[in-house]
């Protein structure tokens, strides 16, 4: 069912309009400014890296895109329309899917069911058609199951479809999250530090996976801490620091940007979990 995942072919070259754009987005919590006039765009079919030191606002930017936070000012445009009036699940249906920095699977459901929940995003079966076993229900069940198996194969979680998601190994849980997000048949896949906790060879394999996700026609937005890893995998990089965008360009351009170098100087890679977006609503 690979063709189900494929989006109506969008050739990056012939589509000048970006898939998503953040237009001067500012987000404040009380006195804290988490995002300060951030603007960038994501082109169709590219892999965009979003990097920055801890607390720079990367996850917050994700949260604004997926509708968890509403921007204090500014707007997000996705696929030609504003997301301002959409609920979170509607944004997901429109084609933005994401994974989570701290894995958030449905732990007491099976691996297969986790992915099928994602596939359900594009389905319409309600209680009546399920109750009566209408063709719509049966068709969607079969399709969802097929998509799920296909994606589990694709991300490399094989032969464990009937296990509880919570019982998978750490790496498999991360891969399962990707499969679940992809099952919603998104145009844009947002990965929040998917390589966290991986060893170098696992990281390399993950980057391969991300490239093949792009080859399936998806656009990928990647938050990652490991600079080297990002630079090797992405087409373009946006750098945030203290809620502001400080650089935007190809990996080589950004690597030589003095502002970026300064931002990363003295910043440890193995810090405590990135807490941007979380700490602000606690107090």
């Amino acid at each position: 069912m690979a063709e189900v995942i494929q989006q109506p072919s969008m050739n990056p070259a012939s589509a000048p309009e970006p898939l998503l754009s953040m237009n001067d987005v500012t987000l404040r919590f009380g006195g804290v400014t988490a995002l300060d006039g951030v603007s960038f765009h994501i082109d169709r079919g590219e892999i965009l890296g979003l990097i920055g030191p801890n607390g720079a606002g990367k996850t917050t930017a994700f949260n604004v895109m997926t509708g968890i936070y509403r921007p204090t000012s500014g707007s997000v445009t996705f696929d030609g329309g504003s997301t301002a009036r959409l609920k979170r699940y509607q944004i997901a249906k429109r084609g933005i899917a994401r994974t989570f920095q701290n894995i958030r699977l449905f732990k007491a459901m099976t691996v297969l069911e986790n992915v099928m929940v994602g596939a359900d995003a594009q389905h319409r079966t309600g209680p009546i058609s399920a109750l009566l076993g209408l063709p719509l229900h049966r068709r969607e069940e079969a399709a969802g199951r097929e998509i799920a198996h296909d994606l589990l194969d694709f991300v490399g979680v094989r032969g464990r479809a009937d296990e509880l998601a919570g019982n998978l190994s750490y790496g498999d849980q991360r891969r399962l999250e990707i499969a679940r997000a992809m099952a919603t048949q998104p145009q844009l896949l947002c990965l929040d530090e998917p390589a966290a906790g991986f060893n170098p060879s696992e990281k390399q394999a993950l980057m391969e996976l991300i490239r093949s996700i792009r080859d399936r026609g998806l656009t990928v937005l990647l938050i990652e801490h490991d600079m080297r890893l990002v630079m090797g995998a992405v087409d373009r990089v946006v750098v945030l620091e203290f809620g502001r965008k400080i650089a935007d360009g190809t990996p080589s351009q950004v690597q030589n940007d003095p502002g970026v170098i300064a931002a990363y100087l003295g910043v440890d890679d193995d810090e405590i979990a990135d807490e941007d977006g979380e700490g602000s609503d606690a107090s």
Binding site: T66, G67, I68, K87, R88, Y89, A92, K93, A97, R98, F100, R104, L105, F106, K107, A108, M109, T110, E113, M116, V117, G118, D120, A121, Q122, H123, T125, G126, P127, A130, L131, G133, H137, E140, E141, G144, D162, E163, L164, G166, N167, R180, A181, T184
Partner: protein
């Protein structure tokens, strides 16, 4: 609500559940047609039960048919409440409110304020309870998980106090002379008599097929059992669909579910409405059989007994809910002297279950399966399991109180073949 995650696959397996799971896996390996036949046979047995009046199971002192009717009402309620509590993870302490609304709608329409035929009052009662479920859920399902429990508790009490205080609803005296469903007497079926030790067909004790009289509860039981079977079938179909998955995803992690495209609020509301619907069925059956109802039958205590049935059986598993309901409704009737201890015992059971077996007696099948796999790998790591481990961890005092590990690994080490 994201913290309301339930059914941790931890905790020991007792011999009972291991027996059950081996039974379950054998059942799953049998071909579908055999499974189907088995279910038909089980249903048939349930229909015949009040006629067979088998010793040991049968209740001395109380009419066995009446007990079976009560049990089937509890089963209905538990299956309905399981949708709300087990599948969707919404702790509802006011479920008795829907039960009461179902019962009172039938009472009001057939006897107290109108003389509708029973067959018409039933669908009306179901519509009314469903609407009341939506009306309660619409504003309240936005509040946090434990607040929801208190709000629903308040709802249940408001329903009861309104019944007591409202003249229009017959105040504390309630409503009487609720008519029976239409009868269609065709033939007589004799019961069995075991008083001599061997089963004898007793032609002096017969049930008319099918006459809903005051004296013979068996036809009411058959009707209730039919409803139980229908509700179970519907439950199975809805659970194994996008709807059931959405409920569970919402229960596990509401935010993540929403971001995966699940309209969580809509599905929670649906769970509430369907739960209310089933509660309404049970309530209207109760009213019909009793022929009179008053607010005394709809106290918070009843809500808690309903909840005990679901928690006891295993939240999220319809057969668990069925077994829980049977335990809660049947045991006190079977052992009458035990009746005054019933609430105390269920209180203790709730505590013990919450502490030692939060997934209930009969947790969802896949939890059991996953647990077994976990145990097997544990056993491999730990080596030969200590044969005394089961005994040692069985008592409440044996648990190490200073053990800070979130999932103490030694708990999964029960010795199994």
């Amino acid at each position: 609500m994201s913290e309301t995650t339930t059914t941790r696959p931890a905790a020991r397996m007792s011999w009972a559940s291991s027996l059950r799971s081996s039974l379950g896996s054998r059942l799953r390996r049998t071909p579908r047609w055999a499974q189907f036949l088995l279910m038909v046979a089980l249903a048939l047995f349930c229909y015949l039960l009040p006629l067979l009046e088998p010793p040991v199971i049968s209740t001395p002192g109380t009419d066995f048919g009446a007990v079976l009717f009560t049990v089937s009402i509890y089963v209905l309620v538990a299956v309905g409440l399981n949708i709300v509590v087990g599948y969707a993870g919404l702790l509802d302490l006011g479920y008795v409110g829907f039960y009461a609304i179902g019962a009172y709608t039938v009472g009001v329409l057939t006897s107290h304020h109108a003389t509708w035929p029973w067959l018409l009052s039933l669908p009306a009662a179901l519509v009314v309870t469903m609407i009341s479920g939506v009306l309660l859920g619409w504003p309240t399902l936005r509040v946090r998980g434990d607040y929801l429990a208190i709000v629903t508790l308040g709802f249940g009490e408001i329903v009861r106090l309104t019944l007591i205080n409202s003249e229009w609803l017959g105040d504390a005296r309630g409503i009487s002379s609720i008519p029976a469903p239409p009868s269609l007497p065709l033939f007589e079926i004799p019961h069995l008599d075991w008083s001599t030790g061997v089963p004898l067909v007793d032609f002096s004790d017969t049930t008319t097929f099918i006459e809903f009289g005051v004296t013979d509860p068996v036809p009411f039981y058959w009707l209730a059992l039919t409803l139980v079977i229908l509700v179970l079938l519907a439950d199975k179909r809805i659970k194994n669909s996008r709807v059931g998955r959405s409920w569970e995803a919402t229960r596990e992690d509401e935010d993540a579910a929403e971001l995966m495209g699940v309209p969580t609020f809509r599905f929670k509301l649906l769970a509430f409405a369907l739960g209310a619907f089933v509660g309404g069925i049970a309530g209207s059956m109760f009213a019909t059989r009793q022929t009179f109802i008053n607010p005394e039958s709809f106290t918070l205590l009843i809500s808690i007994l309903f909840l005990s049935a679901v928690v006891l059986g295993g939240q999220g598993n319809r057969w668990g809910a069925v077994i829980g309901a049977i335990v809660v409704a049947y045991l006190p009737e079977r052992f009458r002297g035990f009746e005054q201890w019933r609430v105390l015992v269920f209180g203790i059971a709730l505590m013990l279950l919450a502490i030692y077996r939060p997934q209930g007696l009969l947790p969802p099948r896949r939890t059991v399966r996953a647990q077994r796999m976990e145990e097997e790998s544990q056993a491999l790591e730990v080596g030969e399991a200590d044969p005394d481990a089961e005994l040692a961890t069985a008592g409440p005092v044996a648990r190490n109180p200073v053990d800070d590990a979130p999932v103490p690994p030694d708990e999964e080490r029960s010795p199994r073949g």
